[in-house]
């Protein structure tokens, strides 16, 4: 698995974009800018997925993350609009001592990880060199057997087909559990984001809290009397 030619160029372009966009996500003062930088980081990582022959995952990344999750983030940022941060009157980082400690911790972590990756990959490469060479020849033969695309200048891979097979054959139970998890998440977020009025309408507020709030808002008192009668 070694990228060559234009693939290598695109690898560097997208990986540098991903890292710089990630850094700017963490460092941007405006939360909207943070979200937009995160989107560009996610799109760059999706491009890296394509370089790794995971086209399906790249599509899912763009559809789910960029199209779903980040739009949710942007909506919440608009709902929770905090102007003081953008005007620069609020500190966006924690106290200096905390920041120093965590940056030192992160630097140690990055040093350890880079060392571990270098050493580990060296050993892995030594162990698998012969197998990779054999497999490369075999794969070239297999690629000749793939169907050609409609334009005739490339071949149709079976990568997505393989993912679907594995997903429904070997991972079908986790798949169902994931759907239940999503259902619970939907119900939970709807429950969490209710207003007091909505909670009072289904009689889900402690009576003393409702009494106190009803003194301020006449509409709540009306709901209260409705629910009693």
């Amino acid at each position: 698995m070694v990228l060559t030619g234009w693939e290598a160029v695109f690898f560097w372009v997208f990986s540098i974009t991903a890292i710089f966009a990630g850094l700017l996500t963490v460092m941007a003062r405006n939360t909207i800018h943070s979200a937009l930088f995160l989107i560009s980081s996610l799109v760059s990582v999706a491009a890296l997925f394509i370089l790794l022959n995971a086209e399906f995952l790249a599509g899912v990344q763009i559809l789910v993350y960029v199209g779903g999750v980040m739009v949710l983030f942007l909506f919440v940022i608009m709902l929770v609009n905090v102007g003081s941060e953008e005007r620069g009157s609020e500190e966006i980082f924690n106290r200096p001592r905390q920041v120093t400690t965590s940056v030192i911790f992160c630097a140690l972590l990055v040093a350890g990880l880079l060392y571990a990756i270098n050493v580990g990959y060296g050993g892995l490469e030594k162990q698998n060199a012969a197998r990779i060479k054999d497999a490369a020849a075999e794969q070239q033969v297999q690629e000749q057997n793939l169907d050609t695309s409609a334009t005739g200048n490339s071949r149709i891979t079976k990568a997505t087909e393989r993912i679907a097979n594995s997903l429904y054959r070997y991972a079908s139970l986790p798949f169902e559990i994931a759907s239940v998890l999503l259902l619970v998440a939907i119900v939970g977020s709807v429950m969490l984001a209710r207003t007091l009025k909505q909670e009072a309408a289904v009689d889900d507020v402690a009576p003393d809290v409702l009494q106190k709030e009803a003194a301020r808002e006449p509409e709540l008192a009306k709901i209260q009397t409705d629910s009693i009668t």
Partner: protein, 139 residues
């Protein structure tokens, strides 16, 4: 003067040139032209560290959630790179890493929905999104 400069700089330039063609730089340049698994793992590690730094240093709870997304995405990148590496060693059907990445994306979506619900509820009650002002669980 010119002679002096030449005699002084030629060996230095020669050294640089030698380094650039056969020394450590040349090896690094060769490796950079052929990125392999380790490069992907390094990019994943850097994205992970950036996410951790964001979680630890920022005060805005929404940016903390975004940093968590960054961390999960770095994990996905590692999963997919290693899956691709396994495919290159001969297991053509080794897509377990990609399956795992699908589940990571699902859990990330669920986590974002719940987390942002909590943010909205918190903002409604406490009127703040700064995590150091949200201390109602402190005794």
């Amino acid at each position: 003067m010119q002679f002096l400069l030449l005699t002084f700089f030629t060996p230095a330039l020669g050294l640089v040139f030698q380094e650039a063609t056969s020394g450590r730089f040349a090896v690094a340049w060769q490796k950079a032209q052929h990125p392999d698994l380790s490069k992907f793992l390094i990019i994943g590690a850097l994205l992970f560290i950036i996410g951790v730094a964001g979680v630890l240093t920022r005060r805005n709870i929404i940016v903390i959630f975004m940093s968590i997304e960054l961390i999960l995405n770095a994990a996905n990148l590692n999963f997919i790179a290693l899956s691709r590496y396994l495919q290159a060693t001969g297991n053509v059907n080794a897509v377990a890493g990609q399956i795992f990445a699908v589940f990571v994306i699902v859990v990330a979506a669920a986590e974002a929905a719940i987390g942002l619900g909590i943010v909205i509820a918190l903002y409604r009650n406490k009127e703040t999104i700064w995590v150091d002002e949200i201390d109602i669980l402190k005794w």
